[in-house]
């Protein structure tokens, strides 16, 4: 990081203009978001927050996001490590494929998932085993996992890449198996990167809408996560409940962003 120059003591027109733009936009963002939070009167907001529908949405969101994040972490660690450490044929392509969901609109991902788990042979097979993904809470988890895995892979890979492989080499000469070196040396050293990835993945799965809408549908009190609750109540004109869902989502974003910044030390991963 290069040192930054002080802008304030003697601001030139150049510095003043650039700073003015920055602060105007900050004010704009704060007013927009703050306006949403303060729109309903406080008693009404509290009442909405405690309504059965919002409580259901909170619970469903917490459970599905926790499960999908756990799967993301478990799946992303080997992928991220492989991409960070191994050279293998097709490594570049693998990297690109894992990034596809980042660029793909979640709605499209949702439709693809819908077709895969629905009319396809695999979908029918799952359904025969009693695993119904479409229009069920299980579908929420599947959609969140698919869309958010790349974020976890990216953050974890960047975490592994900052660890000198010589730590593992030394551990191997000290009697560790490859598994042992990974567990005793690499994982502890990658801890903060993995926590950062976990938080950002969790926060994104809580907010996931498009893919969830396509795969799990928007059924009140069944597949109603917080974003879905927001959407349903907006479309029925129930503004207080919609705002309540938004307020919770804002709070989650702010907290998880703070945790993420803390564990990555502000170094940009995206």
């Amino acid at each position: 990081m290069f040192p930054r120059r002080a802008a304030l003591p003697r601001p030139t027109p150049f510095k003043a203009f650039f700073l003015a733009v920055s602060f105007a936009l900050i004010a704009y963002m704060l007013v927009v978001i703050g306006g949403l939070v303060t729109y309903p009167p406080l008693p009404a907001l509290i009442e909405s927050l405690l309504s059965p529908e919002i409580l259901f949405a909170v619970e469903l969101s917490l459970v599905t996001s926790a499960v999908s994040t756990a799967f993301c972490v478990v799946a992303a660690v080997p992928v991220a490590y492989s991409l960070a450490r191994f050279s293998f044929p097709g490594r570049g392509i693998a990297n690109t494929i894992f990034n596809i969901p980042l660029a793909l609109p979640p709605l499209v991902a949702g439709v693809a998932l819908l077709i895969f788990y629905g009319p396809s042979t695999f979908g029918k097979m799952l359904s025969e085993w009693g695993l119904d993904v479409i229009y069920t809470p299980l579908g929420i988890i599947v959609a969140q996992f698919f869309v958010n895995l790349p974020y976890m892979v990216r953050v974890a890979r960047s975490g592994f890449e900052t660890i000198n492989p010589r730590y593992e080499h030394v551990a191997r000469t000290l009697g560790c198996t490859e598994w042992g070196a990974f567990r005793q040396v690499t994982l502890p050293l990658a801890k903060s990167g993995l926590i950062a990835g976990l938080v950002i993945t969790w926060s994104k799965s809580i907010g996931e809408f498009g893919a969830v809408l396509m795969l799990a549908g928007a059924t009140r009190m069944k597949t109603e996560t917080l974003p879905i609750a927001l959407f349903l109540n907006m479309s029925t004109g129930d503004l207080d409940l919609a705002v309540a869902a938004s307020v919770i989502l804002i709070a989650i974003s702010v907290v998880s962003l703070a945790v993420f910044e803390r564990y990555t030390g502000g170094r940009g991963v995206f």
Binding site: Y167, H169, R172, T173, G175, P188, L189
Partner: protein, 349 residues
């Protein structure tokens, strides 16, 4: 005995290209070579981090070419220490013992013993980040030594340290080697390490070993131009240094060389050929060392000539061809060797 035959490994820009070398039990073996010669890959391949493309590694008559690193009994110490930052110094040293089924009391005893040998017994509870470079390197050496490896690999262990610490740790390495009798393969690009430590030296260039021998042999009879150029110290002789009033007289047997150094006792001196001045007759100057002798060899090499003058000891000088012609130097004719006190590089033996 560690025997390496035809070892080849390509890894990115670096490559080993048919390395042959044999290290005897208990030997302190130094591999000398410039940066990028493939020295670290050699060590990492010996340790089993990389599997060689060709060739064999044989330890005590056992082929370990494909053996897992954890079963080789080979310890490794890197230049940048690589102490695990999430463990204390004590936990770092005990890391290898913990991998086995040793009981905790035995582990703690061994850790303390080894730490004491390295002079870091008081640092066991500290985190690694609070240690000085020298202390970190000691901890890294202790971590490898505590397992009593058959072979200890040291990858430029002194390069990251300041001069004073390096000098001290170099002496300690020697003492540790003497005390434990461990076979050591030590990589360096400092030729001072050779005189202080090495029983034998291998010079590495472009992924192969170009010369192996005792330090004396390698310096006195460089096998290739490369070795000569890399060591840059063709006029290397060993003797006894006596210091009086800051001035040292170094008795090399045939002649006594004067220089300024604080190092006493058994030493080696080196004088770069380009710092040796030749003349037909001895002349008076500010240079402290002048020895009359006889030209024994003149060899042309591009714009320069290498001239050897026997002045009790053979001195190699590098002159331009014009100088050789102007002085009318001829093999068999007398000539004098002159060099300044500051041209004499002294290292402890």
């Amino acid at each position: 005995m560690l025997r390496i035959a035809g070892l080849a490994k390509r890894l990115g820009d670096f490559a080993l290209d048919g390395v042959d070398m044999t290290v005897a039990d208990g030997e302190y073996f130094v591999v000398l070579g410039p940066t990028g010669a493939g020295k670290t890959i050699l060590l990492e391949t010996l340790a089993g981090i990389y599997s060689p493309d060709a060739g064999t590694i044989d330890l005590d008559g056992r082929d370990i070419t494909r053996t897992d690193p954890k079963n080789r009994g080979i310890g490794m110490v890197y230049q940048d220490y690589m102490l695990f930052p999430h463990l204390t110094v004590g936990e770092n040293i005990g890391f290898g013992l913990k991998q086995g089924k040793a009981d905790p009391a035995r582990i703690s005893e061994s850790v303390q013993e080894t730490a004491a040998l390295l002079g870091i017994g008081h640092l066991l509870e500290r985190t690694t980040g609070t240690l000085s470079g020298g202390e970190q390197q000691r901890a890294a050496i202790a971590r490898a030594l505590v397992l009593q490896p058959r072979v200890l690999l040291l990858d430029e262990p002194l390069s990251a340290l300041d001069t004073v610490t390096r000098e001290r740790l170099r002496r300690e390495l020697k003492a540790i080697h003497r005390a434990t009798g461990t076979t050591v393969v030590h990589i360096t690009h400092h030729f001072e390490d050779i005189f202080a430590l090495a029983d034998r030296v291998a010079v590495m260039q472009d992924g192969r070993i170009v010369q192996t021998g005792t330090p004396d042999e390698v310096f006195r009879r460089p096998a290739t131009e490369f070795v000569a150029a890399f060591t840059g110290m063709e006029n290397v002789y060993c003797g006894i240094s006596r210091v009086r009033d800051g001035e040292a007289a170094i008795d090399l047997g045939e002649i006594v060389v004067r220089t300024v150094t604080a190092i006493e006792g058994d030493v080696c001196v080196g004088i770069r050929p380009e710092e040796v001045i030749l003349s037909r007759r001895p002349f008076e100057s500010s240079a402290a060392n002048t020895f009359p002798g006889t030209v024994t060899e003149i060899r042309r090499n591009g714009m320069f000539s290498r001239v050897v003058v026997d002045a009790g000891l053979p001195f190699v000088a590098v002159l331009t061809r014009q100088s050789v012609a102007r002085l009318a130097l001829v093999e068999g004719e007398p000539a004098s060797v002159t060099f300044k006190a500051s041209a004499v590089h002294v290292f402890k033996r």
